[in-house]
């Protein structure tokens, strides 16, 4: 199965006008790919559906705004893929 990064990059390319080849592990979703908040909402919806999770965008934004985490932790592609993998693993964990 394709990696989380590849699946998310494919979703971004399908959902927005960003060419797939422009999306790299180091791309910042907002700053580098130029995705606005509405397109990001569509992308989050696509990720939610694809992975069967609920990406906690609001909680992430609060973390960033409160200075508890850098935005790169969530919005750089390779880190976004890791966060999504963590959410999938948490959902699959016994008792989840």
């Amino acid at each position: 199965m394709a990696s989380a990064f590849d699946r998310i990059a494919d979703l971004i390319a399908e959902t927005s006008d960003v060419p797939r080849e422009k999306i790299t592990p180091d791309s910042h979703v907002i700053n580098d790919l130029g995705i606005d908040s509405l397109d990001f909402l569509d992308i989050v919806f696509a990720i939610d559906k694809e992975f069967g999770i609920k990406v906690p965008v609001e909680a992430w934004t609060q973390e960033v705004n409160a200075g508890r985490a850098p935005a790169e932790n969530f919005f750089v592609m390779k880190n976004l893929a890791i966060r999504v993998e963590e959410l999938v693993a948490a959902k699959q964990a016994p008792g989840a």
Binding site: L38, L41, K49, E58
Partner: protein
């Protein structure tokens, strides 16, 4: 319906965690400023107001689901299909179904029927934001009660 005040829903007849059904009666054309312009000598319910009606039904569903803690605001309109004309004094049944609830947003399908006939449908994304003012929150609760929703007082 009071089109010029954007009061599209007259009565909510059923609601649960994932769906809502409402009724509305399109007003007569005589003296109505919306129908005076849309269209002169051929009064027709504007398609954008049908979409607004489905958005409001979806918004009331989300308000109910979130216990009136957040204000849903329309963010995107997809796959809108306007299948038939809606004339003044038509009786409409509006249906909203939650397709997905995400973090700070929800996706819903809206549908309108009239006498069992499909009128239109749409997929809507709504952001769910904190109420911008306490007054708006209070007015929304009051309006919800008048439409038939049960509203608990805020803690």
């Amino acid at each position: 319906m009071r089109l010029e005040y954007f009061e599209m829903i007259d009565r909510i007849t059923a609601v649960d965690e994932t769906s809502l059904t409402a009724e509305c009666l399109v007003p007569p054309a005589a003296g109505n400023p919306v129908f005076a312009g849309h269209l002169p000598s051929f009064p027709l319910m504007p398609g954008v107001l049908l979409i607004e009606t489905m958005a409001q039904a979806s918004g009331w569903l989300l308000l109910h689901r979130l216990n009136f803690t957040r204000m849903p605001l329309l963010a995107s309109v997809k796959e809108a299909k306007l299948r038939s004309f809606v004339l003044p004094e038509a009786s409409l049944q509006v249906h909203a179904t939650l397709l997905h609830e995400g973090s700070g947003y929800a996706v819903a399908q809206g549908r309108i029927t009239s006498n069992g006939k499909k009128v239109c449908e749409v997929e809507l994304t709504l952001r769910a934001l904190p109420f911008p003012t306490p007054d708006l929150a209070a007015m929304v609760r009051e309006r919800a009660r008048s439409l038939g929703l049960t509203v608990a007082e805020p803690a």
